[in-house]
Every structure is written in C-alpha cells, then in structure tokens.
C-alpha cells in the first residue's frame, strides 16, 4: 500500500513537470555562453602574449649574454594608459548590441597594446659593468615582468579613480545635487550597459547601481539595512518596472499571496523603483534638458 501510494505520488509529480523556461531566456543564456567562450579565448591569448613577452625578454637576455653583454636593458614604462583614460572623460560609446560584458571586452582589446611597451629594446647601449650570471639575469627578467604587472594594476585602479573623480566634479557644481549618492571607492567598474540614448547604467560588485546621463550621475541606488535607498537628480523622472525589495502597502495595485511569497504589481506612476539585479529589465524615461 505504502509503495503504491508513493508510486502514485511519483506519477502525479511527473505530471506536474510541464513548466519550462521561455525560449527568449534560452536564447539569452546561449548567447552568454558563446560570449563566455570568446572571453576565455581572449584571456588565453592575453596570457600567451604575456608569456611571449617574458620569453622574448629571456631570449633577449640570453642573446645579450651570448654576445658578451652584461646588463639587462630596462623595459620601457607603460605610462600612456593612465593618460589615455584620464583624457577620455566620457564613457566609450557602445553599440546597441553590446552585452553586459561589453566593458570588459573593450578593456581586453586594449591590453595587448599596453603590453607592447614591456618588450626590452634591443638597441639599448652596451653597459660597462662586469658580466652577470645567467641565473641572476633570468630572475631579473621575471622581476621586471612582475613589476610591469603591478604597474598595469595600478594604472587600472588609477583610471577608475580618475573617472569617478570626473563624475564627482560634474555633480558637485550644482548645490541641489547634495543628495546625489556617489559610489564609494574603490569599486569595480563592472557591467556598463547602454539602456537608451544618452543613458548608461552600471552595477558595482557591492550592488550599487548607478545611472548616468551624458556622463553625469543622475541616479544611484544602494542597499541599506531596511531595504534600498535611492536618490534622484532633480528634474528627472524615473519610471520603474518592477521591484523586489521593501514595499509599503500604498504602493500596491494588487497582490497575490502564495504559500511562501507575496507578488505585487506596483501602481502606475510610482517612481524610482526597479529591479536591483537585472539592468536589462529596466525601462527608463528621463527628460533631457
């Protein structure tokens, strides 16, 4: 009896298994899988180019030793990257098809260019010091490679800081913007998604979501203990789509209660609320000027 009833339960449960993810969701995930593969290939190529630089450095060292040269030529400093970013105050334009990882892609494209400055110049003048041992030369090449990686990391964090400073200055000039919340530094400039003409949004690793209009911060949302806090640029109107955090009864149009959840539709005209994790679900309408 017990086995029969359990078998019946199993049979009934199998009959419930009808729901499936939507085709659009399937397609979206597949595209993300393709992009993830492409990113891995670029990372592998980047790693390969880095190794190639190191191998080249060591090879040049060996050549120098064989040619009776005694000191490693110092690689050129990579000092163009921070300047380039500092001068470029506006975010790079993104195509409409740019994915949420478009920013990472653009950074990856820049890297090989940056690394070119690490290759030792073969035309450096011959030093006059005594001949070095081969082991010391190899360690020196490795040390300089590590140093160059540190320089890259410093350059990246410098670039992020400078961009945030540019944005901060843009908002500090208006007294009525005292309520604008600027994301705290340091934070990772992660997903930069183009939402509409002139609008760009980003989400930091700490969950702070920021929206920019023409490079000016217009809205920032961050988590606080009691829910989410948002500040809006004076004169802007942000129309949210859904909300998944703290609610008050006066915001509901209708609610549906399940055994363990409460799903509510917001009233039309409620402003400043949106899903905290999915920027591509947000619809914005911000008046210009």
């Amino acid at each position: 009896m017990s086995d029969q009833s359990e078998q019946r339960l199993e049979q009934l449960y199998r009959q419930t298994r009808r729901e499936q993810p939507s085709a659009i969701l399937d397609q979206h995930i597949r595209q993300a899988a393709v992009r993830a593969l492409a990113r891995r290939r670029r990372t592998w190529l980047l790693g390969l180019s880095s190794v190639a630089v190191l191998v080249l450095s060591v090879s040049v060292v060996l050549d120098l030793l064989w040619d009776d040269m005694t000191t490693l030529p110092r690689p050129e400093r990579v000092d163009t990257f921070p300047d380039r970013i500092a001068n470029d105050a506006s975010p790079r334009p993104f195509s409409e098809l740019e994915s949420v990882n478009g920013y990472e892609d653009s950074i990856a494209r820049q890297v090989p260019e940056r690394l070119n400055g690490l290759v030792p110049s073969p035309s450096s003048p011959a030093p006059e010091e005594p001949r070095s041992r081969f082991a010391a030369s190899r360690e020196e090449a490795a040390r300089q490679y590590r140093e160059s990686q540190s320089e890259l990391a410093l350059a990246e964090s410098t670039a992020l800081h400078e961009k945030a400073q540019v944005l901060k200055k843009a908002t500090e000039s208006r007294p009525e913007d005292a309520d604008i919340v600027i994301p705290e530094l340091p934070y990772k400039l992660g997903q930069l998604v183009r939402l509409a003409a002139g609008l760009q949004g980003e989400q930091s690793e700490s969950g702070v979501i920021s929206l920019y209009l023409d490079n000016k911060l217009i809205l920032s949302v961050r988590s606080v203990i009691e829910g989410h806090q948002f500040k809006a640029w004076q004169g802007s109107e942000v129309i949210g789509v859904k909300v998944s955090w703290v609610l008050t009864p006066d915001m509901f149009e209708q609610c549906q209660a399940g055994p363990v959840y409460l799903a509510c539709e917001l009233k039309a005209g409620v402003t400043g609320y949106f899903e905290s994790d999915r920027l591509d679900h947000i619809a914005w309408d911000v008046p210009h000027g």
Binding site: R17, A33, G258, A263, S276, R278
Partner: protein, 181 residues
Amino acid sequence: MTQEEISDEALFAAYRKGDMAAFDALYARLRQPLYLYLLRRGHAESVAEDLFHDLWMKVLNHSAGFDGEHLRAWLFTIARNLSTDAFRRAHIRVVDEQTDTANIAGAFSAQRIEENRDCVELIKRSIAALPLEQRDAFLLRHEAGLSLLQLGELMAVGRETIKSRLRYAMNQLKTLMADCL
C-alpha cells in the same frame, strides 16, 4: 558514445574547451530540472526566470569555481543559494514548521478530484505547502537526482537527517493527497 551517455561533467569540460554543441546538450538536459526546482521552491514565475538567468550567468562567468566533480550538485547549490537570497531580499518570512495543511486538501471537492487534473494541481499546492526544508529535500531528490549523501552535503546536514526530511515530506504529501492515491 552518444551524447546521452556522456556525463554532465564531460559535457561541461568539452564546452570549456570550446565545444558549443556540448553546452547545448548539457543545457537541454538541465534546464527544466533547474527551472522547476526554482519554481517549486516557491518563487513566482517571473522571479524563477530571473533566478534561472542569474544561475547560468554565475555558471558561465565562474566556471573555474567548479571542481570537476558532481556538476549537478554544484548547479543546484548555486540555485538554492540564489533562491534563499531572493527570499531574503524580498523580506519574505519562510513559512514555519506548523503549516496548516488541512485547508489545502479541503479546497478540492471529492467530485473534482476524480479528474486527474485536480490531483496534479493538488500535488503542486501540497508540495508548496511543505515546510521549506522538507520541500527542498523532496525537490532536490526529484529534480537534481542527487544521492542522499550529496543531498546532505548540499543542505549541510547528515544523511539520516535527509532521510528524515524525505520521509516526513512523503508522509505529509500522502496525507494531503489521500483522496488522489
């Protein structure tokens, strides 16, 4: 060897080496179990879709975090954590152990239960009415196909505790579904 015979782990490894067909096969195999797990755990359809999306983004962007063994356990662990976080963000209080299950069965008249359709609907609601830990054990057992040991590791409890939860879940379901069995 056909793709049906290839393990989840082998498909995932093949995808990481660049084989998109392997990903397609793996995704086709796992999409419905993962989605149903999220749905039956108690989320609205739209939220379940969001969580399902987030789950795969984590899988694709953090595949290095997979140790190469027991892919399903890894995937369902991610799904469970995302689901729990979603409940917390929505400030949803988890239904406690003292669930009043009598009302659920009472909503269906004996006449309507003769139609199998209502029994199918009834079991869905009955599963939803289970305390979360029992529901979780039941869903993971049926959707993830994990062993008791793997279930225990995923839920951070011992094997005997898992067996108890599954037993209580089945007993509750039998009570609620008495007229359908």
